[in-house]
Amino acid sequence: MSARERAAYLFLSLLQARVGSSVISRLGDLAPDTVFTMSSRELAARIKLTDRSRQAFEDLKTTFNAEDTERRLAEKGIRAVTLTDEEYPERLREIPDSPPALFVNGELPAGTAVAIVGSRKCTVSGIEAARELGRALGERGVCVVSGLALGIDAAAHEGVLIGDGPTVGVLGCGIDVIYPKRNRDLYGRVSRSGAVISEYYLGEAPLAWRFPARNRIIAGLCETLVVVEAAERSGALITARHALDSGSDVWAVPGPIGTAECRGSNKLLAEGAGMIWDIPEFVESVAPMQEELPQRKDRESEAALPAGLPPHEAAVLSGVGFEPTEVDVISSRSGVGMRDLLPALTMLELKGYVGRNVSGAFVRRISV
């Protein structure tokens, strides 16, 4: 039964990706595997399908092969987690329109999860807020869920990776499709320290309607949602709506008045969203400090220095922080004199361990 049910959910998942609307919620009490026995006419009668969708259903029914579908996933190291599986996130089952199956690249982290969302087009301070939030949550071991898009999303993922915490990226396209291309590197790092997930099967294109649909998953995975920066008509606000519908806490980062990028998030605040006026205070309220924190610190500093660096470069690297660190501060932290420090910094920069920011200070980069 379970295998057949699983196959049915996979089938429904592929069907939904083509139909573009929720099939499963309209099936109501029907057992999912009835779709295999239903004719397109019966189905259409229940859930109102367009002609094109009916055609899609027919096509899929003739070509669908559960084993084949799963095998192709496995070749890419991706798993399918369906509604019938125990691994399926509990919170996600509760939302009105749960995806029948999630394709997972990586491991879904357990424990508290916070979503950080915002516009792709955002201000520098927005990027910084998202990164800092991500880092603070990551250091507390809180999973940060976001959408692997440019702007706020990417910054939030970067932040939690810096903080060495778990993170989940939810795609609006096929699980193996990297969009935007620029995030290729980030995609790999997120899947390694958490998971990249999608409700869309291999190769599905990043169609415009899939992104708002994806937002319900982001909201559904977390009990807390943070909007960093959102313009008045931003997808992030859709996510916030979903979160409110499923009874999650919604927080927002206040932005300067009159800034277009912040109008949506500020409006959320006016409507009663929680205000993040201090990052540590926020982190404390979503994930109160626990005893195990000191251990985490140890692990972090241990992991911090990559192997294979010449000793003097490693010494210099230990003095470079994740916040911009001036050359003189690096010198006093690492105890390396200026004449040896400067060549070492250039070498570290060329090797990609540190970056130089606009004001000549150095920032630690997460090694690739």
């Binding site: 916040e323 911009p324 050359v327 003189d328 006093s332 400067l342 060549p343 060329l350 606009v358």
Partner: protein, 503 residues
């Protein structure tokens, strides 16, 4: 009565040209006129000379007195002809033996009581006197020390017209002046030593490299980060002036009327305000005077708030930075002042000053910052080799474990590096370009690989490439290495412009 001649000198640029003062006293209506392209100050010499002669106890001839300043085509300016005119008049009227004027060079300004006042350009005059074969130079006492630095010419300082007459007539003797001993270089700089600057090791190292290779520097940082304090200490780490350089510096300062009365032995530091005019910076005016860039000759020209200087003002710096001198063309004459300077500029990273600062937010928009940064003209930026970000550090960050290095220790390294350069190519590394650059700064193997990686990853331009090589050469010279090694190149790469400034 015969014509009486006295020899004198006048300043053209920072050099002195000989001038013959001829005085004819003849029968006729009493009068006193000066010919030979005199300017107003020279014309006014008539009144000063007349009164000073009577107040010194001599009689001004009640005859027709004509003074000719030869050569007639050369424009004469200033008050230094007072003394030769007065002495020639006295000789022509018989009050002083004619032969006593002899071949001596005479310069000095008279006051109404017959006293002598100091003049501009005494050192240049002494140099001119030597060149023109004048055996001795008589000038106001306050200028004597300075003029004596030239040697080979007997320099005699006198205080009054009467003293000059007595000395020339052989009735009294005056000790030839000698170069005044002024403080040793160390003492001169004791108020501004690098040891007093807490922290800022990076900026100090950058200034050391700049000093060692004669490179021009741009420091960028928020207000209060210590840019000016650092720049002021730059002359103290440059090698001491050679005698020849001392003379040049003194000549310029003396010609500008800023002489200290003695030979200047310390490297000048000039920090003109950004409201300075073009001629204030480059020199000029109807009575041409050296500008700030010449007054900083062999020293440091510090341009604080670099982007605030007007573009046209800064454009005049291009010639001196290229050729080491400024040419001023006027209707009357074309003058040239030396101007070989190390340029140290400082700027805030943005109009409000706090871009990139950790503790204070910048209020500028990206557009404002870009406009601010692009105010500096490209050609001038190309003359800058080192770019240093000077951050504002907290007190804890400034606290250093060991004591900071004193300027003298840095100066010794700088001097050694300069010596290597002089021996190798006869000029500082900052002037290397083209084929010469490729010869002197040849790199091989690992260094070559490093540089090409840097070009890819750091987006180095062609100019940036040359700049890095020049600076790497200097870093290697400081370490006393014959070839540029990987670490020298790697250090030099730190002195590139931050992306905020990249064009």
């Amino acid at each position: 009565m015969a014509v009486c001649r006295a020899r004198s000198l006048t300043l053209a640029g920072i050099d002195a040209l000989p001038v013959e003062v001829e005085v004819d006293v003849s029968a006729g209506l009493p009068g006193f006129s000066i010919v030979g392209l005199p300017d107003t100050a020279v014309q006014e010499a008539r009144e000063r000379v007349k009164v000073a002669i009577s107040n010194s106890g001599y009689k001004f001839p009640t005859k027709k007195v004509i003074v000719n300043l030869a050569p007639a085509h050369l424009r004469k300016e200033g008050s230094a002809f007072d003394l030769p005119i007065a002495l020639a008049v006295l000789a022509a009227s018989g009050a002083v033996p004619v032969e006593s004027l002899g071949e001596a060079g005479l310069v000095g300004e008279l006051s109404l009581d017959g006293g002598l006042r100091g003049i501009r350009g005494a050192l240049s005059m002494a140099e001119g006197a030597r060149r023109e074969g004048m055996p001795r130079l008589v000038l106001p006492e306050s200028n004597a020390n300075e003029a004596a630095a030239i040697g080979d010419v007997g320099v005699y300082g006198v205080r009054t017209l009467r003293e000059a007459v007595d000395f020339l007539g052989g009735r009294t003797s005056v000790e030839p002046a000698s170069v005044g001993e002024n403080g040793r270089v160390e003492e001169e700089f004791q108020d501004s030593d690098f040891a007093d600057v807490a922290g800022q090791g990076f900026a100090k190292r950058a200034l050391e490299v700049a000093a060692a290779g004669g490179h021009n520097v741009l420091m960028s940082g928020p207000p209060g980060s210590g840019k000016t304090m650092l720049a002021r200490r730059m002359p103290g780490i440059l090698p001491p002036l050679t005698t020849q350089e001392s003379i040049e510096v003194t000549k310029v300062h003396s010609a500008a009327g800023e002489g200290r009365g003695t030979l200047i032995r310390t490297r000048p530091f000039r920090a003109p305000h950004h409201t300075i005019s073009t001629s204030g910076l480059a020199g000029g005016g109807s009575n041409p005077r050296p500008g700030e860039v010449s007054l900083a000759h062999h020293g440091v020209l510090f341009l604080d708030e670099f982007p605030e200087f007007s573009r046209t003002t800064l454009e005049v710096l291009r010639q001196p930075l290229e050729d080491g001198h400024v040419t001023i063309s006027r209707v009357a004459a074309t003058l040239s002042y030396p101007a070989r300077v190390t340029l140290v500029c400082s700027m805030n990273p943005c109009p409000c000053g706090y871009a990139g600062d950790r503790r204070r937010a910048c209020r500028c928009s990206a557009g404002q910052i870009e406009r601010y940064q692009s105010r500096i003209s490209g050609p001038l930026l190309d003359r800058l080799d080192l770019f240093v970000d000077v951050p504002r550090l907290t007190r804890e960050e400034l606290r250093e474990t060991g004591a900071a290095e004193p300027s003298q220790a840095i100066r010794e390294r700088v001097a050694a590096a300069r010596e290597i350069q002089t021996e190798r190519q006869g000029m500082p590394n900052s002037t290397l370009a083209g084929r010469r650059l490729r010869e002197v700064c040849a790199i091989g193997g690992d260094a070559e690989a490093l540089l090409s990686r840097a070009i890819d990853r750091m987006g180095l331009s062609g100019r940036g490439h040359d700049r890095v090589l020049r600076v790497a050469r200097t870093v290697a010279d400081i370490s006393g290495e014959k070839d540029i090694q990987v670490e020298h190149l790697a250090e030099a790469l730190n002195y590139r412009r931050s992306s905020l400034l990249e064009r």
